[in-house]
Symmetry: C2
């Protein structure tokens, strides 16, 4: 599987109206807080590696009457949190963006952060975003509101083989146009990269 993804800046209000008009299906909403680490012994910016701890929280759906036990939010709602640790290795093939990636869920995110901290890894950046998924014409449309960066839209689908990439990408462009967006405004830099650019 090859992931085909197109991302651009876009005010969500207009996109949301277009998604409703197109009868797109809203899938789920969540908050992702990604902490990226610097290594004590090499420069990840140079080696193109990344170590990330991702905390993902699903707010309780508003139409659910059930009140889960426990509470870690002011309103007495409990947010389910999942935490994943991900390592992305150096690019093996720059053109195809091939790299080793290892990921595992961890039971205790604070402990995982404390382990990396103890080992000498330092927090390089935190990327926090609210994310909402829709499905339209077989594509996943993601509305991201990224702290410090603003609003973005991603359109994404999978190609089963290299030969299909172009037609899948054309389809993604078509979805963008249906949402009133211009594929030429595509951004290729990651949110982390955009935040670090801003910090320079």
């Amino acid at each position: 599987m090859i992931e085909v993804e197109v991302k651009l800046r876009a005010a969500h209000e207009a996109v949301r109206a277009a998604l409703e008009a197109a009868d797109a299906e809203s899938k789920k909403r969540l908050t992702q807080v990604d902490t990226y680490y610097d290594a004590p012994h090499r420069d990840f910016a140079e080696t193109d590696e990344a170590l990330r701890v991702r905390r993902e929280r699903n707010p309780p759906s508003s139409d659910s009457g059930a009140e889960p036990a426990g509470s870690d939010a002011p309103g007495g709602h409990r947010f389910e949190e999942t935490v994943k640790v991900t390592y992305k290795g150096p690019l093996i093939d720059a053109e195809s963006k091939t790299r080793a990636e290892h990921e595992t869920a961890v039971a205790d995110g604070d402990a995982a952060a404390a382990i990396f901290d103890g080992l000498g890894f330092e927090q390089a950046a935190v990327v926090e975003k609210e994310r909402e998924y829709f499905v339209l014409d077989g594509y996943t449309v993601t509305l991201d509101r990224v702290d410090g960066l603003g609003e973005f839209v991603e359109v994404e689908a999978e190609a089963s083989e290299s030969a299909d990439v172009e037609s899948v990408r054309d389809g993604a462009f078509e979805v963008l146009r249906r949402l009133g967006l211009d594929p030429d405004e595509q951004i290729r830099t990651s949110y982390l990269g955009l935040l670090l650019e801003d910090a320079e």
Copy 2:
């Protein structure tokens, strides 16, 4: 809580007979495979830190008729595996062996190992043991068969405060004597330490 622990070498056959004669309660059996890592940027032997990935497997109890789904053993039995990552910081107080310790369960042990491998940590040693717990006179008696080292017995209990440590230790010595063992043969080196000594 202060952990009071006395460990010594002892052939299990005689100890097991003594445990049976004393009507000690057998609690559980498991296999622990501990992988210790060396750091790429500092010498853990010098800093007295440790990074460990522990895989713990509970063999299916022999008196259980139920056959859990799945299989990862030749006999078609499934072993439940839990994996924990633990970081032990440098000693803050050598006398009391006080140190920071952070631990979290991880969903995917192979991924956790691959993450540390990718980050440049190297396997320093693997300590593999079969462990069986008994309870006798309020003490936990652990029979460890450690690969490459042989058979050990640990007697352990918790003291609620420093003032109680001596009486709890005396009780542990008494348990050892009931099992036909000599408290003077106590070993204070960890299994990892013993294995590394042997390797020298």
